[in-house]
Each structure stands twice: as structure tokens, then as C-alpha cells.
Symmetry: D3
Subunit: 312 residues, 6 copies
């Protein structure tokens, strides 16, 4: 158990980053923990301990549905083989389920890239705007480029305080996509002065009402999109849906280290560094997922249909 707490700490401290990495690492930590248990106990006792471990691991990152869904997947699958479970096969099984989950994530990204790329037409001067860095959004843009669509350019924000926008810019430029780069506060200016055809962002989490949590600034951009009537889409795997929100559980906004904003601030100043903000479904024209494109209020029903095991 002590080792598990140490492992959990590695996730909590942001040593491990990226929704997929975090989910897979947590499964590994659960596996190591299972290994350490080995022949300790009856299957029922085993499950009791594994569920306890799951709670600890989920607690490290309360706003990471992919982590929660990953651990749920492993345990639900183990339950189906409960009667034949033993110290000999459990690690193997966890590993095999982990691979299944990994593949689910990868397949979902591939599917979204295909679907999303169809929304970029083959015409002159199509302009897409994005904010922060999202591997799913990048997947769509790179797939469109791969298909030979040469007519689009991307406007992106630098995304203070961690400048993830630069990462996005570099990846797109490398693929030969034209990039226009602005400071965050130029959001409205750039939408107002350029004919932006589509705004496309990723998601850190989705709730049962269709609310999306994403990088600070996302709601501001949604507001701009709404004011200027620019289509606003969110591209995300359904695995970012947290089914517990359907039963009232609140998604929390993580407050990060003020030093990210001002390393050597004057005394007495209070610096607020929220990581995310919420975007109401009112501002979202569509959610692009592995199950297709639809209004974000349908996320619960699509999730339940595609991943019944995870939907309780």
C-alpha cells in the first residue's frame, strides 16, 4: 500500500502528464499493487483491496475521466472472470485489459481524425482557430493535411502561462500547415479581422449536461465564437466523459502553482492560476467523437451505448 501511495503521488505531482499516459500509468500502478498482493487472499478480499486502490488512484486527479474510465474498465473486466481469477493469471489479465483500453483510446483518436477531417472542405481560404494543445485536434488537422487538403490555415493562441500553443504551432508547421500565432488577449481581434470558418478545441472532461471542461481561455473563446457566429466544435474521445456527473458529482477546477504566471512576484499579491474553465453546451455547435458528431447534451447516451461496461 505504501508503494501505491508513492505511485499515486507521482500522478498527483504532475510528474506524469497527458490524459492517456496518466490512465495507462495508473493501470500499471494497480497492476504492481495486485502483484504485491499475490496470494494474500480470497477473490473477494482481492477485489476489496483493488477497489480501495482504484479510489486512491482516481483521487490523484479528480478531473481526469480517462483515468477513471481506465481503472473502471480493468476492474469491470476482472469481475467478468472473477471465478477463474488467481495469482497466476491476474497480472496477465490486467495487462491484457490495459492493452484493450489503450487500443480503445487509439481507435477513438483515429476515428475522430477521420470524421473531423471531413469537416474541412476542399476550398480556398478555410481558416480554423484553436487554443492550447490538444492531440485530438491536431489529429484532425494532420489527417486533413495528409489527405492533401492544402487550402486551410490555422490560427492559434500562445496559451499562457505554459505556452502550449507553441507546441501546437510547431507540430502543424512541421506538417507544412500554415500557422498564424497571436497572444491570448487578441482572440476577439483575430476572429473579427480574419474570416474564421471554424473554431476547434479539445476537452479535458465532459459532464452529463454536455458541459465541457478545457484549458482556461476556452470559455472566453466560446464567447467570442458565439458573438461572431463562428461554428464552435469540441473534438474529444467519449472516454473523457465522467458518468458520475450524471448523478450530481461536480467536476472540480484545479488551481495550479502561481509561479507558472509570475516567478518572482511582489509581496502580498494574490495570483490565481486556474487550469481549466467550463464551456456550457449552449456555446458548442457539435461534439466530434468516435461515435460521430452530435450536440454535446447527448454525451451520456452515446457513451452508454458505445462503452456499456463503463456506464455502470
Amino acid at each position: 500500500m505504501q508503494q501505491l501511495l508513492k505511485d499515486a503521488e507521482r500522478i498527483k505531482s504532475l510528474e506524469i502528464q497527458g490524459a492517456t499516459n496518466v490512465a495507462l500509468s495508473a493501470i500499471d500502478f494497480l497492476s504492481s499493487y495486485a502483484k504485491r498482493l499475490e496470494d494474500c487472499c480470497t477473490p473477494d478480499e482481492w477485489f476489496e483491496k483493488l477497489y480501495e486502490a482504484e479510489g486512491i488512484l482516481i483521487g490523484t486527479r479528480p478531473t481526469e475521466p480517462a483515468l477513471r474510465n481506465g481503472l473502471t474498465y480493468i476492474l469491470k473486466k476482472l469481475e467478468t472472470t472473477k471465478d477463474n481469477l488467481n495469482a497466476d493469471n491476474i497480472l496477465e489479465l490486467i495487462d491484457s485489459y490495459k492493452n484493450e483500453y489503450k487500443e480503445m483510446i487509439q481507435n477513438s483518436k483515429k476515428k475522430i481524425a477521420e470524421i473531423g477531417a471531413r469537416r474541412i472542405p476542399n476550398k480556398d481560404e478555410f481558416t480554423i482557430m484553436t487554443h492550447c494543445h490538444s492531440s485530438v485536434v491536431n489529429g484532425i488537422l494532420l489527417e486533413a493535411k495528409r489527405q492533401g487538403k492544402d487550402n486551410f490555415k490555422v490560427i492559434n493562441t500562445e496559451t499562457q502561462p505554459r505556452l502550449q500553443g507553441r507546441k501546437t504551432a510547431r507540430k502543424l508547421l512541421k506538417a507544412g500547415i500554415e500557422v498564424i500565432h497571436v497572444v491570448d488577449s487578441a482572440m476577439r481581434w483575430v476572429v473579427n479581422h480574419y474570416e474564421v470558418d471554424l473554431i476547434l478545441i479539445g476537452a479535458d472532461s465532459i459532464t452529463s449536461e454536455g458541459t465541457v471542461l478545457n484549458k482556461i481561455g476556452s470559455r472566453l473563446l466560446a464567447l467570442v465564437a458565439h458573438e461572431e457566429h463562428v461554428p464552435f466544435y469540441v473534438a474529444s474521445s467519449l472516454l473523457k466523459y465522467n458518468p458520475k456527473t450524471s448523478f450530481g458529482t461536480l467536476e472540480k477546477i484545479e488551481m495550479r502553482d502561481p509561479k507558472e504566471i509570475w516567478e518572482d512576484p511582489p509581496e502580498n499579491i494574490e495570483i490565481l492560476n486556474p487550469a481549466f474553465e467550463t464551456v456550457s453546451r449552449r456555446y458548442i455547435d457539435g461534439l466530434i467523437t468516435e461515435a460521430g458528431i452530435f450536440a454535446s447534451s447527448h454525451v451520456h447516451f452515446q457513451f452508454t451505448k458505445l462503452y456499456p461496461l463503463l456506464a455502470e
Copy 2:
């Protein structure tokens, strides 16, 4: 003339900064130029040359009404003494008019501080938000503090890419005012999560329709204010009004060096760095000026009344 062009270049290159400094320096350059002319010519020829010089100096910063109004003031005043003007007294006269203009600016700031401070009530938990750094806005906040108002705090943005927000924060903290500091993209989050009672920004320029030009991000903040129904005020001297806009002259948006945003950018990226953006009068609840508080569409009429000499 060559010297004047050199001097003009110093203004253009941003070596000289701040609306008041720029105006006063330009007057000095005009004065030096006049000195160099000395007994060259008849009064009429003199004026011809001085008007030419004025045109050059104004051209260095097309969005600086205080500069334009300063030079206009000097020349209009000289016109009133045209008949007695000579090489002996012209420099003295320019200097004296320059001091008058300087005093006009200082008086306007003092008046605005007094008027504006009255809008900060003596009650608990009054929260003011600002963006960028404006000496006029700071004047109001410091005056309120000086009067013993202890109940208010200020939220300010860091204001990328030049971080003028830090300058604002430092000055307010030094005066003992409570400061909350956020990244620019957290604008809406902070207005939504804190009970902001007043948003207060400065102005770089004002047009005859009541449109305000101010730091990039100002229009974005105005949009947030509008959405959240937070009173949005602009504090500015009437000397920031450009009377030429009444006759159709367009205010230009200065595009600054991309290096301010990304010093060592990847190849082929296009970085846009607009200095200002426009805020329509629709979003402005009131303009706080040396002539009182009023809807910004009245700026032309108030300017004409207070500074008839500058109004053509």
C-alpha cells in the same frame, strides 16, 4: 529639417514612450526646429514651415491624439500672436505654450482622479478590474486609497506580451491596495467567479462616434463585461480625442514587432502583434473625463466646449 526627421524617428521608434512624454517631446522638437529657422523668413513662411514640421511629427504616431492636440495647441496659440512674432520671442512663446499644455494635461488627470474616486463607494468588498497599465486609472485608484477607502481590491491581468499589468500591480501594492493577478485568458473566469463591481480601463484614443482605442484585450474585456452586466467605464483625458475622426479620418491600429511575442519563433510562422483594439460605445457605460462623466458619444461636444482652440 534633417534634424527634425531624426527627432521624429526617435518618437517613431518608441524610444520615447507615454502619451504625455511623446506630446511634450514633439513640442520640443518643433521648438528646436523653429530655433534653427530663426530669422530665415517672413511670419507667413515661418508658419508654412512649422505646419510642415507639425505634419511630420504627427505622422510618427498616427494614433496619438495627445501629440496631435499638443502641436495644434502651440500653433493655434502662435497664430493669435502672429503679428508680434519674431525670432526673439518665438522660442519663449513656444515654451510658455508648452507649459500651458503640460498643465492642461496635469489638471485633467487630477480632475479625473477626483471625479473617478467618487465612484468607489465606502462599503465592504468593492472589486474593480482593470487591464494593462493606465496612469489615469491608477490616478483614480490611488486617490481613492489616499481618501482612506480601504474596502476595495483590484483584479488585474498580466497583459501579454509586454506585461504592463505587472507595472500596475506593483504601483497599487506599493500604495497598500489589495491586488489579484491573473493571465489574460482568465478574464471571463475571474469576472464569473468574483463579484466584480466595476471594470475600469484607460484609452489611447477616442473617436467622434465614442469608440475607444486601447490595449489589445480591451474589447475582449468589454465583451465579458457586457455578457456579465458589469459596469464598464473608460477613464481618459479629453485630450485623447482626435477631432479629425469627426470628418471621417480613420484611426489606425499599430502592428508591433512579432519578437515581443516569440523571440525565437519557428520558421514560416506568421505572428500578429496588434497594439490596440477598438471598443464600441455600446460596451462603454461611461467616460470619466476632466469635464465629468458621460456617454462616450458626447466626446466631440465636450471636447469642443472645453478646448475650443483645438476643435478647429
Copy 3:
């Protein structure tokens, strides 16, 4: 039949009040009616008469889905045992189905209280606003208090002309919840001057498009919520859904006695006293039901899934 019409009149005249009471009483009246029929006839004739009675009872309150759903439940259940139905067991069966329906209502309220209470976070100064009196909304607030959440307060309106807001205030105060009370017309003032975090109302009826009918003033409050960007939720059992609306049936707005507003009015005045008004789904952030929280446009699908017998 005459007795049934008399019974129906008791519901119509508002002698019997509250959605649950009305539904259960109507079932009792149906039962008495069935008793009076006794061995009159064949099962088919029986059902014919019972359906006729159902129509009469539903007609007393066209805007009471819980009443309609209750009677539908009884008759649908009776249909399932049609072959074994006889004068000996029918009353017993109706009684037993009535208890089932009653339990369905109670369970739904309990579930909603649990789910809804999770939406009230454990932090300082959380403020909830409500309008009129709703047992479901009160259930949520009391459950949160019962769980030891002490940080929230409730703003409520007096709700003219019947002052149901006082009933709400009294119940909450009794449970030790802090209450702020205002006149109805102060709705916007109070949302503007206090940091309201959540607006929560009940429902009298819901339609297939996700429109909610509730106490007059609800749409006005929704408008305020929309303008001020305060989350606006409706808490209601799915049994308040009228599945007939899916097929075009219109919900009617009941006009009540003008005397409720002005007992001794001057001659010739026309006093309008609408009981309800409609709130479009556009203004509703989420519907809190026994099946979870979701956008109100999904009500038909959730209802069909949870209560298949009542759907169609």
C-alpha cells in the same frame, strides 16, 4: 357515474391540492368507481368504463401529468392481469398498484434529493435562489443541510398572489438554513447585487421539447438567470412529463380567480391571474431527475426508458 363526477369536481375545485395528492385521490376515485361497478359486466366492458372514468378524471386538471401518469399506470397494470381480473380482486389490485405508484413518486423524490444535494459544494458562501414552493427543491436543500453542509444560503421570492414563498422560507428556516426574502419584482436586483451561484425551481409539467411549465414568474426568473449567466436548473420527477405532448397535445395555462390578486377591485378592471408560465429549454441548464441530470430536451427518452409502461 354521478358519484365519479362529484369526485372529479373535488379535484377541479382545488379542494384537493399538490400533484401527489391529486394523483392518489384520483386513483381512489377510480377505485370507488370500480367498486360501484362490481359484477356489472364482462372484463371488456369493465375496461371500457374505466377508460371513460380515466378521461373524466384527467379532464379535471389538464396540466397535471402526475395525475395522468398515475391513472395510466393503474389501467396499464390492470391490462396485464386482464384475464384473471374479477370483482373479487380488482379493488385489491388497484390498491396495490396505487401503492406501487405512490412508492415510485416517493423514490423519485428521494433520488432527486440525493443527486441534487451533490450539486451544492462544501465551500463558503454558496447562494441558491428559488421561486414559489416546490417539495422537490426543498427536498434537495434539506438533504444538503442534513449532510452537514452549512455554507449555503437561500434567496426566495414571496411569490404573489398566494405567497407560497413564505411556506418555502418557513420550512428552510426551521431546518436552520439561512434565508433571504424579497418581493417578486426584486428578482433582478437581488441576482445583480448578490453573487447567486445557482437558481433552482420545480416543475408542474414538462413537454417533449423540454419546455417546463411552472409558477408564474418562472420564465421571468429564467430570463434574469440568462442575462446574468447564473446556472438555472429545474428539479422534477420524470412523472411530471406528459408523453402526449410528443404528439402535439398542447399544455394549457390555467387562469385562476382574480380575487386572489385583488379582493375588492374597482369596477370595469380586468384582472389576469395566470397560474403558470412556460420556460423554454434554452434557459434551462439541466433537469435534475430520478434518472440523473441532463438537458431537458432528453425528457421523453429518459421517461420512456425508466417508465416504459407509461410511454405510449
Copy 4:
């Protein structure tokens, strides 16, 4: 001075009501005070004492510009005759200036009635909505009726907690005008269900930005007008303008006795009873004054032109 304080108390305690009454009474109290001073002192000492008295009297009702303007009028007029002022003529002069002020008020109401009545066309089914009781609004409606316009009807709200709406209803009915009466919370329902052509309210005070203070519920009604695109006008004498607001002075919202709302409230409840709320100029299509109809942002300029003595 003690008597003056007693007199002031009568205004403060609402024993004296109505903007005009309050203004005229305050002038009387100033007169009595002047009488008691009689030959005490030099003219300069006199003025000093009178200004002190003015301050006390204005302080009784900080949101009553008509009171402030009335006292200012008397004192400004006295100043013009300062040199000839003596114990013999001062009371007479005050009385004569009071009559002038009274006449100014009456003329302004008559003028507004004429101008406003022209806005009610002679066509079928013109519907006007109002809130609370305003003698100026009533003046317009009665004038239109007097001119033989028979086609219009008036919708009015009861205006809790003091039911001033009933007073309005009674006066209009007495003149033979058709009246529809609703509870305050039915505002939006009634605008949505009836074709309202014009919303017309009075004003308690106007500020230099064109903001109107009026009965609680006025801003709510303005919001409804805005949402439903119904023209929203304010009818008011310019004497309700407070010129001090131009220099930053804030208008205060009076909080009245909770007993007006709930005579015998439960313990621990907090009842808020704001008398007024502010209506931003954004929501006001036009201000109908004795100087004509115009956008409310022009109030300062019209006031200054019509009543130069009162402006500064």
C-alpha cells in the same frame, strides 16, 4: 436649528411624500429657518447658515433631485439679490422663488403631458404598459384620453409591497381608460401574450450617464422590454436630474422597512426591501421631458440649457 432638524426628520420619516411635496416642504422649512434667524447677522453669515440648512435638508433624502434642485434654486436666486437682502424682504423673496419653482414643476408636467400624448396614435388596439404610480405617466395617459383618444388600453402591475399600481389603476379607470391588472411576476407573460406597443414609466432620479432610478421592478421590466423589443420610454421632468452625478456623486438605493413585505415574519429571516433600482440608458428608447424627447444620455446637456441656474 433644532426646529430645522425636527422638520428635516419629518421628511426623512416619509411623513411627507411625493417629489413635489418634499421639495416645497423643504423650501418652507428653509424659510422658517430663515425667519428664526432674522436679524441675527450679516448677509454673508446668513448665507453660511442657509447653506448649512440646505445641506441638512438635502441629506434627508439623498435620492430626491427635485428637493436638491428646489433648494438650490432658492439659494441661487437669493444670491442674485444678495446686496439688497434684509430681514424685511427675505421671507417674501423665498416665498416668491418657491412659487416660481412650483410653477416650473407644474409647467414641466403640463408640457410632458402634451408631448407624450402625441406618441399615442389614433389607431385601434394600442396597448401601453406601466409599473408603479407616476403622476407624470398618468398625466400623459389622461391628456391622451382628454383629447378623445379612445383606442388605447393600459396594462399595469400591482407593484408590491405598497401596491401603488392600484392607485394608478383607479385613476385611469375613473377617467374611463381600459385597464388590465396583473401581479408583478406576470410581467413577461403579459408582454408575451398581449401585443404591448409601448412601455412607459416615471423616474425618481436621473444621472449624467442617462441612468434612471425608479421603483424596484423597473429594471426587470426594462429587461422584458429589451427581450421582446417593445419600445421603452421614461417620462420625467428634467428637475429629476441630479447634476452632481456628472462629477461622480453616486445615487444611493434606499432600503425600506422589511415590515412592508412581511408584517409578522419568522425569526432569523433576512428581508430585503430596496425602494428603487437603476435602469441603464441601454434599455431606454427615449426620455420624454419638458424639453422634448431624446436619448437619456443627453439629460445633462438639456438640463444645463433649460435650467442654467441649477447647473453648477
Copy 5:
């Protein structure tokens, strides 16, 4: 194949018009094509050729879901009998499936007329506005009239450049329905001056996000409805849903012949004649379909449930 291409051209050239006609003709062309193939080949080869033909026929009108759904229906049904398919029965089968599809369309229209007519209440002065000509909308209005509802009138636009509004007007007048007719640009004026209770239009196509494509001017009318808070409904068979849009396929806007607008235009002018425009689900209060009334974002789920064969 050459004949098929000729047939396809007849659809493309608009020689064949009306969604139902186009769908049924395309099925006939597929049938003729199948006939010409006759005993050419194995069943597998047959299907290959038929799918190729389907692709060509769909390509003639990319924005005609009823056409696509019709051909899909035939082929999916043929697949179910693949094993017994032969040159003797294939034409018979296609014909029989065509009749099934035709009946599906007719039933859907009849069902919509019944459901929609219930939304027109039996009260005085109910006013419905429509745009262009839609057989589904007309079906609802005529059904309501047939039921004896005499209280409603219809406002319709002439719908330039093809004046389909006149066709609508003639049909309604013939049935004795009162019609008010205006130019397209009077849309807002008429909604503002008449109490319009319902706006009702048809659809050419619906996407998975609930966006509707309909005659140019529809989005403009939706904007007016939104501004004036008039309920805005779309009546359409679910067979107008294009399930491919769920996977990113974009609906295209057809640009028609400029001569429709100006037969003999001056040189160098560019005339744009878009046939349709998109209406976002935000503006649509409800979709009236053969499966009931619901928010348009549910179209994919209702389609899948009612027409599983067409949903892939």
C-alpha cells in the same frame, strides 16, 4: 450505364423536381438499370454494379437525403433477399420496395399533419408565418382547417426569386384559409407589427447536429423569430435526415442560375443565387416529425429507431 448517366442528368438538370419525385424517379432509374443488366452476372457482381449506380444517382443531388435514403432502402432490402435474388424477381422486388418506400413517405406526411395540427389551438386570432412552399407545412395547415379550426391566419413571403410563396398562398386560399402576403424583406416588419404566434417552415435536409437546410431566407427568418421570441418550428419527415452527416460529411449549398434573379443583367455584375441556407438548432424550438415533436438535436436517434435499415 450510358442510359443511367442520361437518366441521372435528368435529375441533375432539375427536369425532375420535388424531394419525393426525385427519390422515386431515381429508384425507377435504378430499376431500369437492373433490367438492362439482367442475367449478366453473379449476385455479387450485381450488387457491385447496383452500388455503383447508386453512387451516380446520389451524386446528382448532393443535398437530397430523401433520394439517398430511398436508394439505400432498395439496396438494403435487396441484400436481405440476396440468396434468392435472380433476373426473374429482381425488378418485381425493386418495384415492391419502391412502393414500400413511397408509402413510408406518405405515412410520414400524414402523421406529421395530424401531430402538427394539434399545435394550432382553437382560439381567436392565432397567426402562423411561413416562408417558401413546403408540402409538409401545407399538410399541417390544411389538416387544421379540415378539422374545422377557423381562427387562424397565415402570413407568407413571396420567396424570391422563384416566388414559391405564391404557390403556398394559392393553396391555402383555395382551402379557405386567410392569407397575408409580403415581400421577403418585410419579414421583420410583419413579425413586429402583427402578433405572430408560430413560425413554421419545412426542411430540405437535416444534419446529425440538428442543423436544418432550407430555402434561402430561412435563417434570416429564424433570426427574426429569435429576436422577437416567436416559437420557430420545422416540420419534416425524418427521411430528410442524412445519416452520413453524423460521420462528418458536409451538406453542400447548391448555387443556382443567376438568370433566376436578373434575366438580362448588366455586364461584369456578379449575381449569387444560393438555393438554401442552414438554420442552427439554436433557433429551432422543435422538429415536428412522424415520430413526434422534439429538439432537432435528437434527429439521429429518432431516425435510427424508426428506420433502422437506413441507419447503417
Copy 6:
């Protein structure tokens, strides 16, 4: 007098068109009338008759401020020479004042063209949209072209039912300006699909609140501009201001012949053909006049300053 009534009829019947023509013709008719009076009477009687004639002429076109202002100008000027007025010089004087008025109109158009043209920048791809035909708007566009600005294009609507848009298109094309032409109902589509930088329309009349009356469709276009945040300007001479509106006089909307819309309509149809609609100042970013550019609420003050004689 009979001849005057005949003349008046020629204006009423639209035989005479265009604001300037109508004004000048009315002056001519007044002159002829004066001629017919000749030595009938004393100056006072003369004026009585002339004022009567003025009333008749103004009555022919209640929504033509230029007509009203023209006749007012003549009579006010005659009043100034009343003492020397006689049968010998009156016709001469009227003629000379008519020329002055004509010149005032021409000067105002020239000034507006200069001011307005400055608002069209010298950059690539500047797009202006207009509606109907306005000589003032055309004046601006042609002046810009004359100055060598080649970068702009104009989108215009055909403007049913009289197709004035074609007149606009022809004039601009003739000057070599690029024109895009659409049907009226494509307004929003075209603003949404093209980057429109400026919307510019004329005015038939302006009221004291800053409301503009212009061709039907103007308010619809203003709504589109508002939704899409496109700057919306009105170019008009101040002589289109009707100073009577300041005192409550309502501007009337002229209803024109239904035959303009449908020459041979079916029986029983009601065709509405409003000539104008009103555009609230809320939608107007600026009024471009001979006195400069300003918010339209200032029209009364600018008119009074520039044309004191006409302002009563």
C-alpha cells in the same frame, strides 16, 4: 387654391419622386400659389394663406422632412423680410430662397461624400454592403472610386418590389466598381459568407431619438449587422431630420399599392406593402452627415446648430 390642391396631388400620387425633387417642386407650387395671390392682401393675410398652403403641401408626404424643411426655410426667410415684402418682390425672393435651399442640399451631399469616402481605407478586399438606392450612399462610393480607391467592392440587394437595387448596381458598375448582387432574403447568408467590412444605407427620415426610417428591409439588415458585428452606418443630410419629432410627432409608415408586389393576385388575399421601416439608434454605429460623423442620438443638436432657422 384649387390649383394648389391639384399640385399637391401630383406630389401625393408619386408623380414627382426623390426627396430633393419633391422639396423643390413643393416650393415651386408655393411660389405659383403666391403668384396667384399677388396683391390680394396685407402681408399678414399673405402669411396666413402661405402657412395654410404649406400645411397642405407638407400633408402630401408626411414622411418627407426635406419637403417640410424646404417650405419652412422659404417661409422663415420671408418672415425676415416681412416688412419689405410686396407683390413685386415676393416671387423673386421665393426663387432666391429656393436656390439657397437647393444649394444647401447639394453642399450637404458633397460634404457627406468627402467625409464618407475617408471611411473607405486603401487596403485590399474591403467590402461594403448596401440596400435599395440612395444618392447619398452612391455619392460616397463614387467619390472613393474617383479618389482612385480600387480595392473595394459592393454587395447590394435587388430590393423588391421596385428593384431599386438594380439602379444602384448599374450606377456603380458604370463607374467601374465591382458589384455582387443578391436577392433580399440572402442578406444574412451573404454577410455570413463574405467578409463584409461596412454596411451603409441612406435615410428617408430621422427622429429626435436618433431613429432612422428607410426602405423596408433596412431594419432586417440592421439586425443582421448587429448579429454579425458588422459596422452599420447611415449616410444622410441633416435636412432629413424632422424637428417636430422632438415634440412627440410620430413619423408614419406609408403603405403602398399591393400591385407593386403581385399584379394579378388571387381573390381574398391581403397584400401588405410597407414602404419603410424604422431602425433604432441601437443598431446604428454612426450617422454620416454634412456636420461630421456622430451617434444618431445627436441629430437634433447638430441640426439645431447647423440650421438654426429650421429648428424653431
